[in-house]
Amino acid sequence: MTTVLEVEGLEKHYGGITAVDGATFGIEEGSITGLIGPNGAGKTTTFNLISGFEEPDGGTVRFRGEDLQDLMEPSRDERVIWGGASAITAGTIGGIAGVAGLGLGTVGGLGTLAVGAGLGAGFYAGQERVRQAREGHTNSRPYMLAREGLVRTFQITRELTEMTVLENLMLAPQGQAGENLANTWLRRDLMEREEAEVREQAREMLELLELDHVSDERAGNLSGGQRKLLELGRVLMIEPEVILLDEPVAGVNPSLTRKLMDRIETLRDEGYTFCIVEHDMEVIMNLSDTIIVMSEGDVLVEGEPEAIQEDEAVIDAYLGVD
């Protein structure tokens, strides 16, 4: 087994509070890893850090051996937009300077043109620099990680409440041709063919999650448990490698919880990797291959469920004495 996600010396501070303080652990490919710990132990922050929604203050996270920060480079589309904007602005400034300079005769005109073009290019290069410097610290790009196959769900479910359940699922698959504006006009046939496939796939997923009877309902009308299912279905539609689940069964009834657990185990056997934060001890102990116990921002113990349940430190910190 290979370690697909390596976390090393992870740190995150909010003001005076240290939420994550040097956590180090690894997640094995094709396994289910449970992440437990008392409230305020830094589980959700860790989740945010390893899913790219926040940037660590220290330490590294490696996904398949690559640093998350490198994976979150700007996408090609974003680079095209900024590059195009730079070119247009520089060209406009240069052009205006050139037109203005023509009044000064050929030499003066050429000179002004050169100065204008230089100004324009310099202006945008400078702005680009500032932007990169600023965004390096403040603006993460979690969508780049989802494209690489690392996805997450949210502790408080985030549905697209005004869209239907089916649409919520159909949004997820990666690289749909119809997401490209030009294709919606020029390659309508391709788009419609693909849509039919995606819809079929979404219907199957809904059947699996027993949500098919509400497929045309707005997601905002679903119950809390149904939302959890929908959210799980949505990340599965991406067909990721690693799925980070934040309290997947909170608020879900016992029989559905059972089904959900079976489903997660089946998916694990198919090769998916899971990392789960959950407070329901029965669920997490039954489901997990490995359990990581966090306390005060650091990893307290790491081991198999049976060993964790016996561990003195864990009982003290979290499980309590029966």
Binding site: S51, F53, S75, D77, E78, I81, W82, G84, A85, I88, T89, R141, P142, Y143, M144, L145, A146, R147, V151, R152, T153, F154, R158, E159, L160, T161, E162, M163, T164, L166, E167, M170, L171, A172, Q174, Q176, A177, G178, E179, N180, L181, N183, T184, W185, R188, M191, E192, E194, E195, A196, V198, R199, D216, R234, V235, I238
Partner: protein, 559 residues
């Protein structure tokens, strides 16, 4: 001036604001980007296209402007100007989006408002650019030189047939939809005739109904051009096209209200009549104080009666909007057909009555101007008919609106549109699903702004003169109102909203005519207050607008 001319000028504004509001709807309705500076793109589009068609600046006169390509062939045409204006505003929209798009709703709105004010100030104060604070004039709208059409010339016949094409194609497309849910009227037979037999036979070959409608429109256009060239039968063609249009409109109204039972119909008609009665004091009472108080009191009574009815009777509450709609149709019908003939009826001139009726029924043509073709009709006497420029312009505008609407619908009825709507809902979800909201927001701004620029170019053609007031912030809020009234994120609703808004404006302009000139300005200004109140009512009772958000439950291609 016949009532049909009023309707034509109203439809021109609907087309312009329809395009403008569709642009805002892409940004706000679909993507959730609240752009208070949408008018900035309208302004840039209007000035850009005007500067392209203006002749080079003459230093001897008192105007100053910068380019003026009007005398260069191809570049100096409206078509080129519009394309450049649209692309330029799209690019500017993208550039403006880059630094601002990270801001959240209201901050974004205020920032963009500021940017639109900057545009307006630049136009106003840079006098070398586009004549500064003074109006930019001296250009004429496309093909205006061809009008009034000389009978028997090829150019005139072509211009005429363009309008015939648009009307015929639109009416035929509508009829092909209507005939599917009506069996009482012989619509199938009419359809077979108006499509020249294509509707039944070649439907399989041509594919969609819209293709059939387009081809039928082409055939009608060719025939009418031939009739015009060969025999100058302007009146015959105009009357035929008008009657066809009326048929489709009446069938549409009939089908729309077919489900109502008798008492609901009576209620709607009663509402419309009540509205008419409420306005009666205006033309009748001699003293202005009496007429205003009387009208306001009657209007208040009508609104109270309506409110009382929808709160006390369940069957009224079920059809509350339908009743208002039916009442409005009834009212418009009376205004269009009945009121114009009251004057001649009072003086007892039968031929005057018939003449007025005829002029309004044959809405396709303009009557009674100095130019045109003279006819003598037995019952109404001599008339001069012509196809005027505003009808031709309307045909061009409706073609543009239809084309842009189709293109836009294709863009939003797609996975692309789905991502936009997801961004409006929750950006974090979109990020967690591997899609970059930034890229989509920028694209949304580009499309929306480009539509704003296109609308600006249409405005430049329509108004034939621009001032920096073209970029006044009110325009944005009118567009926003239109979006809200019709339905946020619903392109069809936006078109309905544009019709309603300009319908209201048109109606109140007519009303203002009953007031003495000194008061007229105040009445027209007071409309803004009324519009504001109506806006609040719509937002309070129907936050999703009349048509609501469009449901995209099953995406494209699902039947």
């Amino acid at each position: 001036m016949a009532v049909s001319d009023v309707v034509v000028s109203f439809a021109l504004l609907v087309a312009i604001y329809g395009v403008l509001s569709l642009g805002l709807n892409v940004k706000f309705g679909h993507t959730g980007l609240l752009d208070f500076g949408h008018v900035g793109f309208f302004l840039v589009g209007a000035y850009t296209s005007a500067l392209f068609v203006l002749p080079p600046d003459d230093p001897a006169d008192f105007t100053n402007y910068v380019i003026g390509f009007g005398e260069i062939p191809l570049v100096g045409t409206w078509a080129f100007g519009i394309i450049v204006a649209t692309i330029l505003t799209g690019v500017i929209g993208g550039l403006v989006a880059l630094p601002t798009i990270r801001l959240r709703e209201d901050y974004l709105a205020i920032t963009l408002l500021g940017i639109s004010v900057i545009f307006q100030r630049v136009v106003q104060s840079e006098s070398w650019l586009a004549n500064g604070p003074d109006a930019l004039r001296g250009y004429s709208p496309p093909f205006q030189g061809l009008f009034p059409i000389e009978p028997g010339t090829l150019v005139g016949a072509v211009a005429f047939s363009v309008v015939v094409f648009v009307v015929w194609a639109v009416a035929t497309a509508a009829l092909s939809l209507q005939r599917e849910n009506d069996s009482r009227l012989p619509l199938d037979r009419i359809y077979a005739v108006t499509t020249f037999g294509l509707g039944t036979r070649a439907a399989g070959v041509l594919g969609s109904r819209f293709a059939v409608a387009g081809v039928a429109g082409l055939i009608a256009a060719v025939i009418s051009a031939a009739l015009l060239l060969a025999a100058s039968l302007v009146l015959l063609v105009g009357a035929l096209v008008s009657v066809y249009g009326w048929l489709v409109v009446l069938v549409a109204i009939g089908q729309h209200y077919a489900d109502l039972d008798r008492r609901e119909l009576a209620l709607g008609v009663g509402f419309g009549t009540g509205l008419l009665v409420a306005l009666l004091p205006l033309p009748i009472a001699d003293r202005i104080s009496v007429s205003i108080v009387g009208t306001l009191a009657l209007l208040g009574a009508l609104v109270y009666a309506y409110y009382h009815a929808i709160t006390s009777y369940e069957w009224v509450a079920d059809v509350k909007l339908t009743v208002v709609g039916l009442g409005a149709v009834w009212f418009v019908g009376i205004w269009y057909v009945l009121l114009p003939i009251l004057g001649p009826l009072g003086s007892g001139s039968l031929s005057g009555v018939l003449g007025t009726l005829f002029r309004n029924v044959v809405w396709f043509l303009q009557f009674g101007s100095s130019a045109g073709i003279g006819y003598s009709i037995a019952v109404i006497g001599d008339v001069t008919v012509q196809l005027d420029y505003s009808r031709f312009q309307l045909a061009l505008f409706l073609l543009s609106l239809g084309a842009l609407y189709t293109v836009l619908e294709a863009a939003v009825q797609s996975p692309f549109g789905r991502v936009l709507r997801a961004i409006r809902n929750d950006e974090a979800v979109v990020k967690s699903l591997g899609k970059d909201p930034f890229v989509y927001k920028v694209q949304s701004m580009v499309i929306g702004s480009a539509l704003g620029g296109f609308a600006g170019a249409m405005w430049a053609m329509y108004s034939q003169g621009l001032t920096f007031r073209t970029g006044a912030p009110e325009t944005t809020f009118i567009a926003l109102l239109i979006v809200f009234v019709g339905g946020v994120g619903n392109n069809k609703g936006v078109l309905l909203g544009a019709v309603l808004y300009w319908g209201f404006q048109q109606a109140t302009t007519q009303l203002a005519g009953f007031f003495p000139p000194a008061l007229r300005v105040n009445v027209l200004a007071f409309r803004l207050v009324v519009v504001g109140v109506l806006f609040l009512i719509v937002l309070y009772y129907m936050p999703d607008g009349l048509l609501g958000r469009e449901e995209y439950s099953s995406g494209v291609g699902d039947s």
